[in-house]
Amino acid sequence: MARSVSPRRKLINTTAAWAIGLLIFFPILWTILTSFKTEGQAIASPPIFLGFDWTLENYRTVMERSNYGRFLWNSIIIAGGSTILGLIIAIPAAWSMAFVPSKRTKDVLLWMLSTKMLPAVGVLYPIYLLCIQLGILDNRVALVVILMLINLPIIVWMLYTYFREIPVEILEAARMDGATLKEELLYILTPMAIPGIASTLLLNFILAWNEAFWTLNLTAVNAAPLTAFIASYSSPEGLFFAKLSAASTMAIAPILILGWFSQKQLVRGLTFGAVK
């Protein structure tokens, strides 16, 4: 919004916003800095901010100990796969809810959200037993499906709210011109909904990436993502702040970079229909 304000006001705004922004970001910055310290410097008193001997030793140790590439690849597959699969299933559902609403549409939506409220720990044993029966423990496809199911309600909800903002008149005009349902969906709605779909995709990729219960408990080697990677660096014997920081940085860096590049999209799209 282009509002004109006095330079003084703008300066105050800028200072305040930057101060708060840096404060919020500081824990991440501190983790990244610590990852380049030696273990001794990491716990030095008083703490060293920048004037330490920068070293890549921690990263080397972590790379030697863990197959980082495989964890990363699994995270990408699981988060990406579950998000895309979720979109494929959710787009038609959200479309029909938004454009052919019935009396029960809202109930269905709210019911979908309520399925997210089943506490994961409570059903660990049932799900684990089920996975054994189906032979899908430590299996990426299984995790893709499970994480898709976990996030599906959020995906449907988000898409529904975006679709609802699309003016019905356009659809009616297209129908007058003889567009079929399929054409309507593909050529008119989808392009208009692309921003919404994109931010839904982003948000759910983040949620799936950070999911740490099922990804840890249903995997061993083949399907273990970065959440399992980090579990091998929390509180081992001895000094570990620097190695933990290196591992943490490696676990969050890919998603952080993705998030930064798509920040505009996320800010624009993350409305959940809250904006009218």
Partner: protein, 288 residues
């Protein structure tokens, strides 16, 4: 507008999502219900038959039950209040013209990208550790005795960590709402000499109500289930045992699946009470 044909087409298009979610809800739910009526002790020979409502009675009469419910609600409400209030202030600030707006936004939303396990580990070890943590150094710098955050102020610390993770989400949604605010209306009010407080409560807040509702709804769903943060920081000690953590202790630490399943059923009931309560508000707010 809908014809009969498009109605049935719509139903067909909803079917995959509905059927999948129905299965995802029913299968674990039925298994949980089944186990909750059985004495199932994996370390003592497994499934040892029916016990009726014993597990339910035992779970709810345990001295840990009500404190756990209370803890759960305190965490949810505490985090919601902090993130919504700070989120509004922060969104208001970020909506102002400034230099480097894009970068500031990036800084503010960054915590949302951090895995809960990582954020809990970082806060616990590098900030809240009473000896080597950054807070301890800071306190000592000012000559104060370092605080043992995770034992002496466990709940506030936990709420702070979780709020840090969710503040970006609240800020983002509220920011988009701010951006759609009719600035002419505000300016007109300002011209008329309406004080800031009045403008805020009569124009801004009503405009934000939908966004706030969404924040509350989505966050509640995730907050009711927080686990990693507690597992990493306090392990449920010092009054931070939530209902889902109590279930974890029953299922995995005590290896009593029956009792844990009964706890799971209670957790579902609690979640649904909260949900119905929320849905009432949301339903009203989303109907515009």
């Amino acid at each position: 507008m809908a014809t009969k044909a498009s109605r049935s087409a719509a139903r067909l298009m909803m079917a995959p999502a509905v059927i999948l979610l129905l299965g995802w809800m029913l299968v674990p739910l039925i298994m949980t219900l089944w186990f909750s009526f059985r004495t199932y002790l994996p370390l003592r020979g497994g499934d040892k038959g029916w016990t009726g409502f014993d597990n339910y009675v035992r779970f709810v009469t345990s001295s840990s039950f009500w404190p756990a419910v209370q803890t759960t609600l305190i965490i949810v409400v505490g985090v919601l209040i902090i993130t919504v209030v700070l989120g509004i202030l922060l969104a208001m600030l970020l909506d102002q013209p400034m230099w480097g707006q894009g970068i500031v936004r990036i800084l503010v939303i960054a915590p949302f990208f951090v895995m809960p396990t990582v954020s809990a580990l970082v806060w616990k070890n590098m900030f809240m550790d009473p000896v080597n943590g950054l807070f301890a150094h800071l306190w000592r710098l000012f000559g104060a005795e370092p605080v043992s955050w995770l034992s002496d102020a466990a709940m506030p610390s936990l709420i702070m960590i979780v709020s840090w993770q969710w503040l970006p989400f609240a800020t983002l949604i509220l920011l988009t709402a701010f951006q759609s605010l009719d600035s002419e209306q505000l300016e007109a009010a300002e011209m008329d000499g309406a004080p800031f407080a009045k403008r805020f409560f009569y124009i801004v807040l009503p405009h934000l109500s939908r966004a706030i509702t969404i924040v509350i709804l989505i966050q509640t769903i995730f907050l009711l289930a927080i686990f990693a943060e507690i597992f990493v920081t306090t392990g449920g000690a010092f009054g931070t045992r939530t209902l889902s953590y109590l279930i974890f202790q029953r299922v995995l630490e005590s290896q009593n699946i029956g009792l844990g399943s009964a706890g799971g059923v209670y957790a579902i009931i609690l979640a649904n009470i909260v949900a119905i309560f929320l849905m009432r508000i949301v339903g009203k707010n989303l109907d515009h």
